[in-house]
């Protein structure tokens, strides 16, 4: 297993398993897990999470996570 730090922004904080918060939390995931695995584990619907940044760099859903990485997940915002 590896440990990653997850931060859920704005409306996605409701998917925080420790209660609705944008405080970072740790997740233990199997070696070889992708971004997609995290999204599914947290039950975040795909349309709510198009923006995932690993250590502040945008990555796709098939990105393979490494131990200690920080996963930031955003909802799309488009208002003007």
């Amino acid at each position: 297993m590896i440990t990653v730090e997850v931060v859920l922004f704005a409306t996605l904080r409701k998917y925080n398993p420790h209660g609705p918060s944008s405080e970072p939390f740790n997740m233990q995931v199997p070696v070889g897990s992708t971004v997609d695995y995290i999204l599914k584990e947290l039950k975040i619907p795909p349309r709510e999470s198009k923006q995932v940044f690993i250590n502040s760099i945008r990555q796709d859903r098939d990105y393979v996570l490494k131990d200690g990485e920080r996963v930031a997940i955003f909802p799309p915002i488009a208002g003007g």
Binding site: A10, S22, S56, A78, G79, G80
Partner: protein, 285 residues
């Protein structure tokens, strides 16, 4: 000597800046008088003044930012497009006018309604049902008569956008849907114009400055998909402060682009979460 320059020099006055420096200043009324005398635009008079190192007094407090009369002259000779004149665009247009960006393309196809009043700077109880472009023109005319305006009342599409944006040095994406934002980005890319993107929803907002070769909006939103045109603002709405936060950042980015000053938010996304009081910067590609 050019007659206009001679007239400008005649009406300028020496003043002292807050830091004690002396400078030559020209007032708004003197600009108007000279413009009337020469049957030219206030902008022409201001430009003649700036090129003679005479400062239109209205820009005095911008000097530290613009770098003096030369930088101000550069702004006055610049053209920016504000596409969308709602929560973001109304404020963006006014701030660009206050900075003395000389030519503003003002584009929107909408009219003010009551639900705009909570956040759209140019919406008032008196101008409901007025077109946003018309309201912006009136306001900018009151704020800075040296600004030339190129109004466009309608939806920006692939047919009209190239003509509308041609000649701009920067475009401000103040739109409210992804289809139009992606279209604007494509046209900006084709024309080689940097685009300052801003978007808001409830307590959160984002800003990024996209140059023609950058991955841009796709790096933020993923590929454009049919049926996914809006974000979480649809359910959460937008309050008064979030558009002001994001619009201010957009204007600062645009001014930097026009002056060639500072570090733009290029290939970076600024994400502001007002509720958590956090600002993060994320790398795009």
């Amino acid at each position: 000597m050019d007659e206009l320059v001679k007239a400008v020099k005649t009406v300028s006055r020496e003043k002292t800046a807050p830091d004690g420096q002396k400078y030559e200043s020209i007032s708004i009324s003197a600009v108007r008088d000279v413009a009337a005398q020469f049957s030219c635009l206030p902008q022409d008079v201001e430009l003649a003044a700036l090129q003679s190192d005479i400062l239109p007094e209205r820009y005095q407090r911008s000097m530290g930012t613009t770098g003096g009369t030369r930088g101000q002259a550069l702004l006055l000779q610049s053209q920016a497009a504000v596409v969308g004149l709602g929560g973001l665009g109304g404020l963006v247009a006014e701030l660009l006018a206050r900075m003395g960006v000389g030519t503003l393309v003002l584009a929107d196809g909408d009219r003010f309604s009551e639900s705009n009043l909570n956040r759209q700077l140019l919406a008032t109880e008196q101008n409901l049902e007025e077109s946003k472009v018309s309201a912006a023109q009136k306001r900018i005319g009151q704020v800075n008569s040296a600004v030339r305006m190129l109004p466009f009342e309608g939806i920006v599409d692939e047919n009209n956008a190239p003509d509308l944006l041609q000649g701009c040095q920067v475009v401000l994406d103040c739109l409210d849907n992804l289809t139009s934002r992606f279209l604007l980005e494509t046209v900006c890319r084709d024309l080689g114009i940097p685009m300052v993107h801003g978007a808001i929803a409830q307590f959160v907002g984002q800003v990024s400055t996209i140059f023609p070769g950058d991955p841009g909006l796709e790096a933020i939103y993923g590929p454009l998909e049919s049926g996914r045109d809006k974000g979480i603002e649809v359910e959460l709405g937008n309050p008064a402060a979030t558009p002001a936060l994001v619009a201010a950042w957009q204007v600062q980015e645009a001014i930097k682009v026009l002056l060639g000053r500072g570090e733009p938010l290029q290939n970076r996304l600024l994400f502001i979460d007002g509720e958590q009081a956090t600002c993060d910067i994320f790398q795009l590609g």
